[in-house]
């Protein structure tokens, strides 16, 4: 709850900053586009969307989750930007729903509140190694399964989209 309200304050501050000085944040991706944000977003840098390249994602607050998953035989260490930080960066509302889209156009609906409630990350590294496409990269939505048994269900496994290329907020 505390975390939630803190995030709200943060969101509000970010939002105000964007209103005052949008140019500061309206940076364009310099490298290969990795993640495209669309839908109900407050800022854009490429048409109606906001595009992150690898460097931009690495610049956001990072998180680390060590957990067992159904996709790997052993406990693995995942690293990547906090999913909540990504949403905050584009001024998204945490009461909205997200459509998380994979490279093969597979998609899953995830409530934005999950990102705050469970401390979700979009993993870019596994055990220190960069996730390539063949390794379910570039982005893999990871819940901290081991810290909350309630997460070890089909619902959350299905929300854990890999090879993410875009997120649509609606």
């Amino acid at each position: 709850m505390n975390k939630h309200s803190r995030s709200w304050v943060l969101t509000t501050v970010l939002f105000l900053s964007i209103l005052i000085c949008p140019k500061l944040f309206a940076q364009s991706p310099e490298g290969q586009p990795v993640l495209t944000m669309s839908g109900k977003i407050a800022v854009t840098n490429q048409g109606d969307t906001w595009v992150f390249d690898r460097a931009m994602l690495e610049a956001l607050p990072q998180g680390k989750i060590i957990t067992e998953t159904p996709w790997y035989d052993e406990v693995s260490e995942f690293e990547g930007p906090l999913a909540s930080a990504i949403l905050e960066a584009v001024g998204a509302d945490f009461s909205d729903n997200l459509r998380v889209i994979a490279l093969n156009d597979y998609s899953a609906v995830v409530p934005a509140s999950d990102f705050i409630d469970h401390g979700v990350i979009l993993a870019m590294k596994i055990n220190g190694e960069v996730l390539r496409v063949r390794d379910k990269g570039p982005l893999f939505l990871i819940y901290p399964f081991d810290s909350d048994p309630a997460l070890k269900t089909e619902v959350y496994y299905n929300r854990s989209v890999w090879q993410i290329k875009a997120i649509e907020i609606y």
């Binding site: 159904p70 996709w71 035989d73 490279l103 093969n104 390539r132 496409v133 063949r134 390794d135 379910k136 089909e154 090879q163």
Partner: protein
């Protein structure tokens, strides 16, 4: 009742069965909800999905490769590489060892297909790793590999689908079996609980029957008790009546014997008469005992409550046995507590009877040594009397039944000492009716000690006994007065009793007129004024009570004549009937000469 343990065992068995069945149901339901199986199912679907994806991704790559082949400029190398990367990423799922576990032994063929598919992708990867030039150069080879992969993945999808369907079918069958077992078990549980309920019902019915049986037995017992009480009552009443009936002729015998004794007889005849008299007296004593006991049994004994001097009473009792004790050469002592009050309120007659019985017994069974009567004030309203002797004692076996009626130490005792064996039973009953209790301690050969405690209300000053004062003054008056001819009317139907009464009266110096029944008496008193009427109770034509009532209603001076009932009816309600009818007093048959003279003197003196 004997079926109860049997019931209990059956209950236990049924309960255990029901519990086992329930546990089995829970177990099966648990396995139905098995999480592992659910996960396995999900993983199997994942595997099928992965195979399908592999097939699809290969198709996409194949299409892109064909486009690239026909027009290399239309396809971006990056997108081609991305396609291959996505395809490559699908290997991961196929490589995972547990997919094999998911499908069991049927996987055998499939495993090689997997391996082959992976091998093909690795071969393709070698070209892609080398870069765009290598791919362009060996495009045909890559397309051929993709075609090969397409055949393999199609087979994979079809086979996995088939296996999955088979598994699902098996699992469904297994599940159906489990549901069948659960249903069966539920039926069994219902059966066992049904049986339990049935047994419970039966048991309740059984206990209800047992209770009804017990109740009917109790009521039978109650009936039996009532019958026995009624029989005992009848017996007591019969005894009372018989002894009463015997008293009337006894009266005649005693009276005649006394009269004979007074007459001129030879010495031998005198002795015979004396024996006759004493025998008759003994018989009378026994009759009195039986009568007393019958009354006590029938609950007809009513206690008086009059003031009396306990000390005087005790001294009288001791004085009575003084000669006997002296003759037997045993000492008779009376020990009185200083704290004793001068007067108490109770029934002195019954108190005397108890003391006479206990002291008499003590003297009777003591041949040397002494007998002591000790009376003490225990507390403000309880007096204790102890009669101790150095007599023959009582054996422990006999002590237990000592206070039962018709019981004596043993049969030889009866032969040696005589008596009805009713004395102690009567004493005990009297003491109990007075609210007290009696106990005995005895050692054979050393002596016995009877002691009883009764609540006795002490009173400060004795109320003057109205019957005593006139008596003493009466004798004075008689002594002073001129002997006047007294007219006595004797109302008596029995000829023997008439003779006895006339004889006794003659001895006392009175003459009398005789009426044979109440009706004759009524005629006589109307014609003549008598000084005293002696009235029998039971007579033909008109009984004593009726005659008395009629005399009292007369408009004649005779209506005031003192009437003394002469009766063998010693029961209190009979005496009450006499007094209620208007009689002044009563004489119990058989009466002594002294009794008669006392009564006559008392009423004649009042009249004068």
């Amino acid at each position: 009742m004997s079926s109860l343990p049997h019931f209990r065992r059956a209950w236990g068995v049924l309960l255990i069965c029901a519990l086992i069945f329930l546990l089995a149901i829970f177990f099966i339901l648990f396995t139905l909800n098995d999480r592992h199986q659910q996960l396995t199912e999900a993983a199997r679907e994942d595997a099928l999905w992965a195979a399908y994806q592999l097939d699809r991704e290969n198709l996409k790559l194949s299409n892109l490769l064909r486009s690239y082949e026909s027009n290399p400029s239309s396809v971006n190398w990056d997108s081609l590489e991305l396609r291959f990367e996505i395809l490559y990423s699908r290997i991961g799922l196929l490589q995972r060892g547990h997919i094999g576990e998911l499908f069991g032994s049927e996987i055998g063929n499939l495993a090689s297909v997997y391996q082959e598919s992976i091998q093909v992708i690795y071969e393709m990867d070698q070209f892609f790793e080398s870069g765009a030039e290598s791919v362009s150069a060996e495009l045909e080879k890559i397309i051929e590999l993709s075609n090969r992969l397409a055949v393999l993945t199609e087979r994979l999808v079809v086979d996995l689908k088939g296996l999955s369907a088979l598994r699902i079918n098996e699992e469904r069958k297994d599940q159906q079996n489990k549901y069948l077992y659960v249903t069966l078990l539920i039926v069994l549980v219902m059966l066992t609980t049904g049986m339990l309920m049935f047994m419970l019902f039966k048991h309740m019915k059984l206990t209800a029957n047992a209770r009804i049986h017990a109740e009917s037995m109790a009521s039978d017992l109650q009936d039996a008790v009532v019958k026995a009480e009624r029989a005992s009552q009848a017996k007591s009443e019969f005894l009372a009546m018989m002894s009463h009936e015997v008293r009337t002729p006894m009266n005649g015998i005693l009276g005649m014997a006394s009269l004979l004794q007074e007459s001129d007889l030879k010495e031998e005849q005198q002795l015979h008469i004396k024996t006759l008299h004493s025998s008759a007296n003994s018989l009378l004593a026994i009759l009195d005992d039986i009568l007393d006991f019958s009354k006590l049994e029938a609950g007809r004994l009513t206690l008086e409550s009059v003031p009396f001097s306990l000390i005087n009473l005790a001294q009288e009792v001791i004085a009575l046995f003084d000669i006997t004790a002296k003759n037997k050469q045993i000492s008779l002592e009376l020990v009185l507590d200083d704290k004793l009050s001068s007067h108490y309120q109770s029934d002195p007659g019954r108190f005397r009877q108890v003391l006479l019985n206990l002291v008499g017994n003590a003297i009777k069974f003591t041949h040397h040594g002494k007998v002591t009567l000790n009376i003490t004030q225990v507390d403000s309203d309880t007096v204790s009397c102890t009669i101790e002797d150095t007599g023959i004692g009582i054996s422990p076996e006999v002590l237990e039944t000592l206070f039962m009626p018709f019981t004596q130490a043993d049969l030889s005792t009866t032969r040696r000492y005589g008596g009805t064996g009713l004395g102690l039973a009567i004493s005990k009953k009297i003491i109990e009716q007075m609210g007290g209790s009696i106990s005995v301690k005895s050692e054979e050969g050393k002596g016995s000690c009877f002691s009883f405690q009764i609540p006795l209300q002490s009173i400060d000053a004795p109320i003057a006994n109205p019957s005593e004062i006139p008596k003493s003054s009466a004798s004075n008056i008689i002594a002073d007065a001129e002997p006047a001819p007294t007219r006595i009317l004797l109302v008596e139907d029995n000829k023997v009793n008439q003779m006895v009464a006339v004889g006794l009266l003659k001895k006392l110096g009175y003459s009398c007129t005789i009426a044979n029944n109440g009706a004759e008496a009524l005629d006589l008193v109307e014609a003549e004024l008598f000084d005293l009427i002696l009235m029998d109770m039971q007579m033909p034509i008109m009984d004593g009570v009726t005659a008395t009532k009629k005399i009292r209603q007369l408009d004649h001076p005779s209506a005031l004549t003192p009437i003394i009932a002469v009766t063998a009816n010693a029961l209190p309600e009979d005496l009450k009937a006499c007094l209620d009818a208007g009689m002044n007093d009563y004489l119990s048959k058989p009466f002594s000469k002294k009794d008669l003279s006392d009564r006559i003197e008392k009423y004649l003196s009042i009249r004068t």
